[in-house]
């Protein structure tokens, strides 16, 4: 297992992007797994009454992508201490062309970088600026996270 050490990071270090594709199958799975059964996320006619122009991706699914992005990056020895995200822009899922393949279209990317590096009460921390970027390169879901990491100096 690869360990990410606090010393390996600097302010400005970029996190490798995590690509994601939102499609209707994924939204249905998310509804079932999260318990959010709002038809705004699977029924076009209802969605058209909501002033958003169609079925939209759940904010909380994008939040879960970002948490996957940060926890995957920090690795098992890292600890997520704080997290936040705001749903600023709407995202529209791809439709399906087969039972499990979405049509061609938009791909999203979780992106992020280190914006602060410090020691807080003996914990080696970094603050991250993160976000979900849509296919046009617009950040629809900006956020922040604070992660505690192992330090080489602690011999861990």
């Amino acid at each position: 297992m690869q360990i990410l050490y606090w010393e390996d990071l600097e302010v400005g270090t970029e996190m490798p992007p995590l690509p994601k594709i939102a499609h209707s199958l994924m939204l249905v799975k998310w509804a079932g797994a999260s318990g959010d059964f709002n038809p705004h996320h699977y029924e076009t006619e209802f969605a058209m009454t909501q002033g958003t122009g169609g079925v939209i991706v759940h904010g909380l699914l994008k939040h879960a992508w970002l948490i996957q992005f940060v926890t995957g990056w920090m690795g098992e020895e890292g600890t997520l201490k704080k997290f936040s995200c705001q749903y600023r822009g709407l995202d529209f899922p791809r439709k399906m062309q087969t039972m499990n393949e979405p049509v061609e279209g938009e791909t999203w990317n979780c992106k992020g970088k280190v914006v602060k590096k410090y020691v807080d009460e003996d914990q080696h921390c970094v603050d991250l600026e993160i976000g979900v970027e849509n296919g046009k390169g617009q950040v629809t879901t900006p956020g922040t996270a604070t992660v505690a990491l192992p330090s080489r100096k602690k011999g861990k």
Binding site: H63, I67, E76
Partner: protein, 155 residues
Amino acid sequence: MVPDSLKQYIGKVDPPHLREVEKGAIRRYADAVGDDNPLYYDEEYARKSRYGCIIAPPGFFGWAKKTISSSEGLVGLIGAMIEAGYAGILDGGMAYDFYLPVRVGDTIVVSPKVADISLKEGKTKMMILRFEASYTNQNGDLVAKSYQTLIGRQL
């Protein structure tokens, strides 16, 4: 001005409800996200990790023990918001402070509260609802706090 029908909810605390953190629910959640981290499904792998067992992805606190998880206060508030003309409801954002991991088999007590209700005047009027919740495990330890924002738009 926030209408009185909504103002009465500010500061209201919902009765705490219980959530169970089941193995299958964790796996389904991780699968729906597309997260293949073995800590969320591989028992043997997770046992050898520093957690000692399967954990839940941060932000997942299990499923409510009762069939209906929506708390009465929240349902009333959303109803009042729709009644007041803000029927276009969207999630605004989510934030957490995490203190301890959520482990498979945990029972989590969730205590939600309506922290604030405000109006935002821009191109269109929006009602902003802020909720806070604390999550405590079966040992009485605080595992996390959450801060959620909902937005009601005039349609």
